[in-house]
């Protein structure tokens, strides 16, 4: 590497490195002072949803089963008022080749890398996406580098990430493991610059278009099994891609009226860049530590314009506690014979609570599962938590305190969701947008329209918030 490799120097070259790693000129899509043409950014990839499905099918990605969780539905009804307790279905995304819906995102990114003649792909991810990219790269005959935030300053690896390290290495990838900190992005930029590999970022248009098939398939499967589209789809929400892609796919399947609910594990009180907190989260994804910052400002991602724009698509945003997700993971195994998750079961915990309030003929879909195994299991997380001094007990899940106390419910009737105030989230997004403006920038009419689309509100609402803030 000839170019200067210091932190500040590499970060200064950030835009240039990203541009050449992706071959997308994001500046082309700019509108007004802060807006951009989101639909054109996605459309310019040239992929229709049928193209995406065909590419995925070549590597056995997608077309996963939709299962009705009849025993969990019965349990919901046992604790619901008379006539209440909606039918719960789950899309078994663990059936994808590397064990999660992330294969959908990786399939398109790797296809793109291959058609552009790149020698390899690289991704910065500590989660299932790494295994997905490595699996797809193996099949495509491309080299692969995965950069993971994997261990704390005591050398203790987060067990779920240790399992992802193993999986990526099993698929023949080079795995760079770092200690805790956002400078993982700096390490990643150096990898991109040195390798010349394609950037399989989670936040490119390819990564979002890849998930549209999930929403599309599930709408058709529910129609086939129940004769109509689902009433609610609940999405485990972190960086926003899962929600964005699923909602877009539902709309493309003519299920635009389906209510889309984001569900995240509440990790309130823990700092995402803290070395101390790193192994005390007990969840590596699907949590508020990603979901809140990425919903209120998607462009904090590793690309200039994040193609995951969750606030455009969510009808409701709820949180559940760590203990509730672990409880439902156990219930899923013992009542449905499905050992999955735990992180993907965040939406299942939310579905349990939400289905309880709905009429019995309503249809609720939990839109993903993920594979489980050593490290990636409630036992691994709970044993580590206990080792680090976190209290573990049965009780009222409202007493769960991330990093201090994990409370496993004593009874299914205790499972409940907390609503995140979407108006507050919208205002927070707008505050971030206004702060991104340069001193001489002035908002145009096109910016106001963009912000209204971004927040699923109206130009009048944007104007009202502007007037309040200034």
């Amino acid at each position: 590497m000839n170019a200067a490799a210091g932190y500040a120097q590499v970060m200064e070259r950030r835009d240039e490195i990203i541009r050449s790693s992706l071959e997308i000129d994001y500046a082309r899509y700019a509108i007004g002072a802060l807006g951009f043409d989101y639909e054109r950014l996605l459309a310019d990839t040239g992929y229709s949803i049928d193209d995406v499905g065909a590419i995925q099918q070549r590597t056995a990605v997608g077309n996963t089963p939709l299962l009705e969780l009849t025993n969990i539905t019965a349990l919901v009804r046992a604790v619901a008022a008379a006539g209440k307790g909606a039918r719960i279905f789950v899309k078994d995304e663990a059936a994808n080749p590397s064990g999660s819906f992330k294969d959908r995102r990786a399939a398109l990114a790797v296809h793109e890398a291959k058609s552009r003649g790149r020698a390899g792909v690289a991704a910065a991810t500590s989660g299932n996406f790494g295994a997905a990219v490595a699996s797809q790269a193996a099949k495509a005959g491309l080299r692969c580098i995965i950069v993971q935030e994997a261990f704390d300053s005591h050398g203790i690896a987060q067990p779920e990430i240790a399992e992802k390290t193993r999986a990526c290495e099993a698929y023949g990838a080079e795995v760079i493991r770092t200690s805790v900190g956002p400078e993982l992005f700096y390490v990643f930029l150096r990898v991109l610059e040195a390798s010349g590999y394609f950037n399989a970022s989670l936040y490119t248009p390819y990564s979002i278009l890849g998930i549209e098939t999930l929403g599309y398939e599930l709408a058709h499967q529910v129609r086939q099994q129940c004769g109509r589209p689902p009433d609610l789809v609940i999405v485990t929400h972190a960086g926003g891609g899962n929600l964005t892609g699923t909602a877009r796919g539902l709309a493309k399947a003519g299920a635009a009226d389906t209510t889309v609910i984001a569900a995240s594990v509440d990790l309130g009180g823990l700092h995402m860049a803290s070395d101390h907190d790193f192994n005390r989260k007990s969840f590596t994804t699907g949590h508020t530590g990603f979901a809140l910052p990425f919903t209120t400002w998607p462009d904090r991602a590793d690309v200039p314009r994040n193609a995951a724009r969750p606030l455009r698509y969510m009808d409701r945003f709820v949180t559940v506690s760590q203990g509730e997700v672990f409880y439902l993971t156990q219930v899923l195994a013992e009542l449905e014979g499905l050992e999955r998750g735990p992180a993907g079961n965040t939406s299942l915990a939310a579905a349990f609570a939400i289905a309880r309030e709905l009429d019995q003929d309503r249809i609720v879909v939990v839109q993903e599962t993920e594979y489980t195994g050593a490290g990636k299991h409630p036992l691994a997380q709970l044993n580590l938590a206990r080792q680090l001094g976190i209290e573990l007990r049965r009780g009222d899940p409202r007493e769960n305190r991330p990093g201090q106390c994990i409370v496993i419910p004593e009874h299914p009737s205790q499972i409940a969701v907390s609503d995140v105030d979407l108006d507050h989230v919208r205002r927070s997004y707008l505050r971030n947008a206004f702060e991104s403006l340069g001193q001489t920038d002035r908002l145009t009419g096109a910016d106001i329209d963009f912000l209204a689309d971004e927040t699923r509100s109206s130009p009048a609402y944007i104007q009202e918030v502007i007037d309040e803030t200034h």
Partner: protein, 104 residues
């Protein structure tokens, strides 16, 4: 005497990427006080001793340098023992379902 590690062995190297004083400005206090470390596995390019500064060839075919930290490192992640707080959950929910069936 420690054993010399043969070229071609599967090993892990360790490297300090950023020293404690060089961390990004936005990191919290506890993270700022520790270095950013990195570990990568690959095939040892030339025979060496543990703790030597070495070169490896990674599975992606890249040559990287660092301190030889481990030879054929194990995957130690597992499950650990069952935890009391989860072992009875299945029995409890099945009992609730049985009760419901009887009520019907």
């Amino acid at each position: 005497m420690t054993e010399r590690i043969a070229a071609g062995s599967w090993v892990e190297i360790h490297k300090i990427v950023l020293k404690a004083g060089e961390r990004a400005p936005q990191v919290p206090e506890d993270t700022r006080q520790v270095p950013l470390e990195m570990r990568v596995k690959g095939f040892l390019a030339a025979s060496a001793n543990v703790d030597d500064e070495v070169e490896i060839v990674t599975p992606a075919g890249r040559r990287l340098r660092g301190r030889l930290a481990a030879v054929n490192p194990a995957y130690n992640h597992g499950f650990g023992p069952p935890v009391d707080e989860l072992v009875t959950v299945g029995i409890e929910v099945r009992a609730i379902l049985r009760q419901r069936d009887q009520v019907k």
